[in-house]
Amino acid sequence: MIARLLFGSFRRRLRHLALIAIATTVAAGTVAATAGLGARLEAGVQGVLHAAGPNLVVRPQVGGPDRLPAAALVRVRTTPGVEVAAAVAERPAGETGEPPVVAVSAGFFDLHPDWEVDGRLPQAGEALAGDLVAERSAEGAAPGGALRGLRIVGRLTTGGELDRALVTRWEGPAASAAASDGTAASDGTAASGGTAAAVGTVASAGATASGDGAGRLIDRIDRIDRIDRIEVRAEPAQVEQVAAALESRIAGAEARPLARVTETDARLTRNLQALMAGAGAICLLLALVTVASATLALLEERRKEMALFLSLGYTGRWVQGIVTAELSLVGLAAVVVGSLAGEATAAVLAHQILGLPGSFAPSAAGVVAGLLVVVAVIAAAAALVRRRVERLDPALVLQGN
């Protein structure tokens, strides 16, 4: 019987229901498109930012100690707004021509994913040779070769200073005296410090920031007494605040924003997202007004029918339920259609206009936006229905008033 009532009513009230459906579809489509576009924009910006590398560097202050304390890396990583932080410790080139050695902690290659590495990441006793080191060292610096006791596993091309260095990953504490001449040890023994000490032993490399490897890295790094700089990628919109926070947390350190252009891009992105959210909200509001208007017209047209239901002994709640169910089915179908169209529009716009990857997979933001629209529409319709049914006097209506 319910199905028959709903189906019959749909056919009879197609005009009103079509208006509700169109308004809801447009609202859902606009909201989904703005949310989907915003999400794609965010993802695109994040991708660009990741490719851009660090946007902050923490160094010892000029005139202060020439190294950062070992615990600084942990403090940096726990500062709000910091996404990735990697410590770098350097040993300058030796007087007899040993290449500079740079030891890096986990996260370093996350900050530099665009580097050319024609091997794999270093493991214990291994290193990457920069281009200039390789040129000077000829065969020894080729992948598979050995240099100063460190086996070269790959050629690293950065286009910058590190091309002159051997890049190793460290885990253990500061290197032993044996490592000070460039020979790597993997026993994790501590260095004695001093300006000529090696930066540390090369132990196992953990490519990700999770698991025992990362934990050991952090523990060991705490005991290393020499950190030359910490490279940081902070939330682009908060670079200045993060820099200020880092300087206040780490005595004797200065934090310098590197890529101000990314902060500008981030601000522009946020403004664009806010603009799109505003447009979506306005569209939703207009849709709700349209839905309310069409619902009121529908309820007016159904007055006698609702009064008849009440006169037959149906409760007010039942009458509310069947009318709301009809509107809800229309709203739900409209939201599904609108959201799919909106997500498709967002993918096309992202690809064609913004040059972002045009994935048609629904974004979480788009799905949430669609749910928001359907909840808003159904809630608005249900409230109107309840109010009308409660105020309906079946006796008056059935008399023709």
Partner: protein, 253 residues
């Protein structure tokens, strides 16, 4: 016990506090009892309170003062949910304008009244329509039925839940003579089966068929006449048969 028992029932519309427009008393201190199986006709000019009385008996309205009981249920103090229960269990309504759902067939309109009890019985609904002479019209929409046929669907709908009281508001008001006759015959049959009917009408022919006629004026009962029953009715109604015999035995009465 009387099926309908009204004691000093008043129904006012408008606010007591309003000085410019005092409340209107649609019913003013009405006392009325109707026995089970009785056919009562309510007549009176427009605005006399006929429909208000009917709405009250149907549980679509509540008295402003007085005591009103239908089938032993004091309807004045019922909640909206209880009134809905009263309407689906005690009364059957027949409207002047039929009020059929236009997108449901004749059969489905009758089943709609069944569904209020969360169940439908297609066979029972079919039988109800056959009893009112619409066995060939089950799948017709209201737009495909004549006025008389629509009203007969209303009658079937009103009867499907076996109510104790049938209330009809101008049941022949929108019908031509032929259809009117059909509906009146139907009502007479129902009365013959023992149903209690309260019918509001302007039509004296309807009044002639009833057991009793009351006249309302300005919300009050201006006249209350017990009519002589028709012979075929007298055979089924012992009390009235006795009265008829008494009347016939008294010269000049």
């Amino acid at each position: 016990m009387a099926l309908i028992d009204l004691q000093d029932v008043t129904r006012s519309f408008g606010r007591q506090s309003s000085k410019s427009t005092p409340p209107v008393r649609a019913l003013d201190g009405i006392s009325l009892t109707v026995e089970e199986g009785e056919w009562l006709v309510v007549m009176g000019p427009s605005g006399s309170g006929k429909t208000t009385l009917l709405n009250l008996l149907a549980g679509l309205d509540r008295p402003s003062a007085g005591r009103a009981a239908v089938a032993g249920v004091p309807i004045g103090g019922l909640s909206p949910r209880e009134l809905a229960k009263f309407r689906r269990e005690v009364v059957g309504l027949i409207f002047q304008e039929f009020h059929l759902i236009p997108y449901l067939t004749a059969l489905e309109n009758v089943m709609l009244a069944q569904y209020v009890h969360s169940m439908t019985d297609r066979d029972e609904a079919r039988q109800a329509l056959e009893e009112v002479g619409l066995g060939e019209r089950l799948s017709h929409l209201p737009s495909q039925l004549s006025g008389g046929e629509k009203q007969r669907v209303c009658v079937a709908r009103a009867l499907i839940n076996h109510p104790r009281l049938i209330l009809a508001d101008e049941p022949t008001g929108n019908l031509d003579e032929a259809n009117e006759r059909q509906v009146l015959d139907l009502l007479s049959d129902l009365h013959g089966q023992g149903y209690t009917l309260v019918v509001v009408t302007h039509n004296p022919e309807v009044a002639n068929l009833a057991d009793r006629v009351i006249h309302l004026e300005h919300g009050r009962i201006a006249g209350d006449s017990l009519r002589a029953p028709r012979p075929e009715v007298a055979l089924e109604r012992p009390m009235l048969r006795t009265l008829q015999a008494v009347a016939q035995s008294v010269p000049g009465l």
